[in-house]
């Protein structure tokens, strides 16, 4: 069954990780209000379990173009995690994901404490956003661009994923230059302004990426049918 069809028909699925029951209830409500499908777990370990992490997959990290696709079919499009958790912290979870076949799933970190070094560390490790708790609807609204970007990438096969990785590195380099300022809501007022210019840049890349990827898809399909 066409992945493109599956992806467009289903809602985005967000996995929320937090050891606090109250915060899980809150984030679940926030995400459902924004029409996302939500799964909540209370630890980093359970998050990895849910994402299909196993010893087997660890020893064959990118053996496949198949394995990552399967996980996208299981349908987690974004992980939002608390930073401070007993055992595996949100940062540990982020690192594990980014150094594995789960690296293409965008990760957002939440924390009740505004520690600039913590924020920078998470963003440098590959987190898309850093939200200060308590998280609000206006924060959840910031998730959409990250989900849309990943959705287009995941429609493709491995070859296209390689191309898009290069794009992503370009974006991430840009991001690292703006680290700490744009991506956390810690400075809500100034971040709105700077966030706009970064979004503009990202849209420029997205447009280009979309055309490239669509063309590649067409060629791949032609090859498959007629080749």
């Amino acid at each position: 069954m066409g992945m493109a069809a599956a992806a467009s028909e289903s809602r985005f699925h967000v996995l929320a990780v937090d050891d606090s029951l109250i915060d899980r209830k809150l984030i679940e409500r926030l995400l459902k209000t924004s029409s996302y499908q939500v799964t909540t777990v209370d630890s980093g370990c359970k998050a990895l379990e849910f994402l299909g992490w196993s010893e087997e997959e660890r020893s064959n990290p990118t053996e496949t173009s198949v394995s990552p696709n399967i996980h996208q079919e299981l349908g987690v499009n974004l992980v939002i995690t608390d930073y401070c958790m007993p055992g595996m912290t949100g940062y540990d979870l982020l690192k594990k994901m980014k150094s594995s076949y789960l690296r293409n799933i965008p990760v957002v970190i939440m924390s009740s404490e505004h520690v600039p070094s913590r924020i920078n560390r998470c963003l440098e490790e590959g987190a898309e956003e850093f939200f200060l708790k308590p998280v609000r609807l206006s924060d959840v609204n910031k998730l959409k661009p990250h989900l849309m970007r990943t959705k287009f990438k995941n429609i493709m096969g491995n070859q296209e994923r390689e191309e898009s990785k290069e794009e992503e590195t370009g974006i991430r380099t840009q991001k690292q230059q703006n680290v700490g300022l744009n991506k956390s809501n810690a400075m809500r007022k100034s971040s709105d302004h700077e966030g706009l210019s970064l979004d503009g840049l990202r849209q420029k890349y997205s447009g280009f990426t979309v055309i490239t990827l669509l063309l590649s898809l067409v060629f791949s399909l032609c090859f498959l049918i007629f080749g």
């Binding site: 029951l21 109250i22 915060d23 809150l26 409500r29 401070c84 009740s112 308590p134 609807l137």
Partner: protein, 154 residues
Amino acid sequence: MEVGQLQRSFLEYIAALFREGFLDGQFSQLQLLQDESNPDFVVEVVSLFFEDSERLLNDLTKALDQQNVDFIKIDAHVHQLKGSSSSIGAQRVKNACITFRNCCDERNIEACLRCLQEVKQEYLLAKTKLEALFRLEQQIVAAGGAIPILDEFS
């Protein structure tokens, strides 16, 4: 009492809670998340907060009563309580927790005991006021009215 009067009492009561610092903007955020499909969301979350807080306050009392006080554990409990009070907008409880954490840092048992008392007091006040607010809501609904939203703090 007729609905209009009940609604006015409700608005005055909740406005006072904001004015006196018992509640902050986060409580309004909770109200925004409540709708016809989740009509009891605020009560549910606040009830979870009550259960969670009472458990934590008990644990804190026990922990401070030990021969060898484990300040790391105490700090962890207070951090949790600070987080949950912040998540529901219980501002004065949250602030009392912040003060408590400072005392933990100083590893001062006497100061911690005073802080615990303060947090307990603020918690009981918050609980009493929120329960009164929810009773007012129930009265409005029972009288066939809708619960008004206080706009200025959302």
